[in-house]
Amino acid sequence: MADVDLDTLQRWLRTFAASVAEQKDALTSLDAAIGDADHGANMHRGMSAVVEGLSTPPADPATLFKQAGMTLVKSVGGASGPLYGTFFLRMAPATGGAAALDPETFAKALRAGLEGVVARGKAELGDKTMVDALTPALDALDAALSSGESLASALRAASAAADEGRDATTPMVARKGRASYLGERSAGHQDPGATSTALLVAAAATAVAEQGDG
């Protein structure tokens, strides 16, 4: 299979931005239940800015990720701004400056992003955050790739795992972020950040599938 090219990576971000736009109110409603009712607005503001930035095409994946990360950091604020921003900022160097990413490099870059999120936010698995969607997704991705699946198919597995991870946040009692203030009352609500992260992984699966040779 071909490497993931710059076009596909841009399509990933555009697809993610489109799902965020579509799910904006749903994300905000999830945040209203256990937070402060702005996660949809935050992600939408950020991803719109990222897409706007794509009008001057980046030179390579590293530049794309750095630009996206910096834009998110600059335009979102709140918890999700630094976290999503750091995610992409950390992906950039992990590409090693390649013009297109082979599946392993892509997976490694995603893993670096996750590590950035954890370094920044100190969340552990089970804290009811975006980490609970991202971690199982990248674990599934790695497992599928090492058992020889194509990237497209591995990303489909990752997306399914992200969805499961997202769903699994519902019964959790939050220990990080704004929802942690609610204590036991945070249980029974799906985490908004895990929900947007599931959209991020799904968008990757869609974009790579569309590259057409998965």
Partner: protein, 333 residues
Amino acid sequence: MKKLLNDPANLVAESLRGVERAHPELRIDHENRILYRADAPVSGKVGILSGGGSGHEPAHAGFIGPGMLDAVCAGEVFTSPVPDQMAEATKKIDGGAGVLHLVWNYTGDVMNFDMAAELAAAETDTQVEAVVMNDDVAVEDSLFTAGRRGTGAAIAVEKIVGAAAEQGRSLSELADLARRVNDSSRSMGMALTSCTVPAKGSPTFDLPDDEIEIGIGIHGEPGRRRVPLASAHDIAGMLVDPILADRDFTGGEGVLVFVNGMGATPQLELYLMYNEIAALLDKAGIVPVRTLVGPYVTSLDMAGCLVSITRFDDDMLRLWDAPVATSALRWGM
């Protein structure tokens, strides 16, 4: 949703234009959404920076001025501002003695201020210290979570540290003082109603007519528990008891009691609440020597109140009484 605005997306930007027109003593960098003293940077003085999401007016811009803050960064409604803003503001108010970041303890604010400090360190040689304010006793298990929220105590911290900065104290002295005021403060809030975030357009939570939320924050987030609507007398107990259980407020130079309106609660009710609160403090042998009653840290149009108590030592009390000239707190000048 019924609000005085044009487009929710432009609410903060247009409001800042109004602040600029109304307050010639402030400067505003609209691109970066930084509000700062017209005389910034004050040479030789440590710059004091705070800020946070919008929707808490008069916090934060109402506290800029001689004797309090040098600058604030304004975020979107209930959303922490971003590191670039904070780094830029840090530059603007660096008078050569460093800049103190007074950070309200929310995950977003803390992470963004962290990144701002990293940016500032990378770009300039400005000395930056950050103190996180976390006074809200509603948050239990704070060691295993995002910790206690920064709520009402910030006013005491910002006022006292701002006065000390005018005296020429050093960055590390001010950071210690900020921590001392924060450690001496505890707060607890409640809501009668939810607020409505303009971008969402409907109340953040539904609260039946006969129930209230105890242990709320200042972002319209629901509280720790929901209880039946109670009398002011009983509500005062629900707020004061956990505060007194968490810290000793007797002795020293007495306490500051701050009864904060969440936005839509009439002052008539806030003073009635203060009457109940003061009676409870009397009984506990705690002596209020200064009082602040009014909407200073609001949650848009939420009805309810937040009680914040700070135990003064003599340094803190003197600094609280020192002159201050901001649009929301002013005396002595």
